[in-house]
């Protein structure tokens, strides 16, 4: 796949760059599937290198009539991690609150 569209915000000398890229379509029957990915890039000033985080965002499905439908790519693992960590922090806060009240 090759990049066919890029956001304009892709200057290499910026400290933080967010790009949304759309790939070439994959054709299945009369459907065209366009993959969409987003990348976050952190260029550290004065340092060669940096951090690049790429993740899928959605696929756009286009039929032969030209109707488009966007199907988001859900990161279930990330959602579960955030939910569990939040529950853990909330549980710890609740424990602290209950013990604090019982001491008074």
């Amino acid at each position: 796949m090759r990049k066919i569209r890029q956001s304009k915000n892709n200057m290499a000398n910026k400290t933080f760059v967010r790009q949304t890229n759309t790939g070439e379509p994959v054709r299945v029957g009369d459907l065209s599937i366009y993959p969409v990915a987003r990348s976050y890039r952190i260029n550290m000033p004065g340092v060669h290198g940096g951090i690049i985080w790429n993740r899928p965002v959605a696929v756009i499905v286009e039929n032969s009539r030209g109707d488009r439908q966007e199907l988001p790519v859900v990161d279930r693992t990330r959602q579960l991690q955030i939910a569990i960590f939040s529950a853990g922090l909330f549980g710890a806060f609740l424990t602290w609150l209950l013990f604090r009240k019982s001491r008074k």
């Binding site: 890229n21 299945v28 340092v47 790429n54 790519v73 693992t77 579960l80 960590f85 710890a92």
Partner: protein
């Protein structure tokens, strides 16, 4: 001697230019990782169904290089020249770097004659690790609070 220094300087510049070229080519390869084809895999055809795997990836990289050269300021016949100080010239250069790539499957795009759907992939190990960590938060707070107030 001047001729020698000039030759050394030229050699040093060549090495440094070569190193900088290597760094630039590595940097270009690094920046190329921010593309769609690093996130969506090649379509896999299974009968009438097409499967497109998707993954997120994190690339961390850093590198640097440096070079320098110098020569002694003292002439051999100077009186205040200490032993070891003199006319010698030397130089050196070096570079280094490191990086890491982390990749994780996120979902699978399934295209069949019935339509297109996106099936998320849950990484069970990561979820279990998150649950253990979260339980650790609660257990740690419980143990800390059940010890009672500290007396000084």
């Amino acid at each position: 001697m001047d001729k020698d220094i000039k030759e050394f300087g030229a050699a040093g510049e060549v090495d440094l230019h070569q190193t900088m070229d290597d760094i630039n080519s590595t940097m270009v390869s690094f920046l190329e990782t921010a593309s769609v084809d690093k996130v969506y895999g090649a379509p896999i055809q299974v009968g009438s169904t097409t499967i497109i795997p998707t993954a997120e990836n994190l690339v961390v990289m850093g590198f640097g290089a440096g070079a320098g050269s110098g020569r002694g300021d003292f002439q051999p016949d100077e009186e205040d020249a200490e032993p070891g100080e003199g006319t010698g010239e030397a130089g050196g250069g070096g570079g280094g770097g490191g990086g890491r790539t982390l990749s994780r499957p996120v979902a699978i795009v399934i295209a069949s004659p019935e339509g297109v759907r996106v099936e998320p992939v849950a990484d069970r190990t990561k979820v279990i690790m998150a649950a253990i960590t979260a339980a650790g938060f609660v257990a740690g707070m419980f143990m800390r609070m059940s010890r009672g107030p500290k007396s000084f």
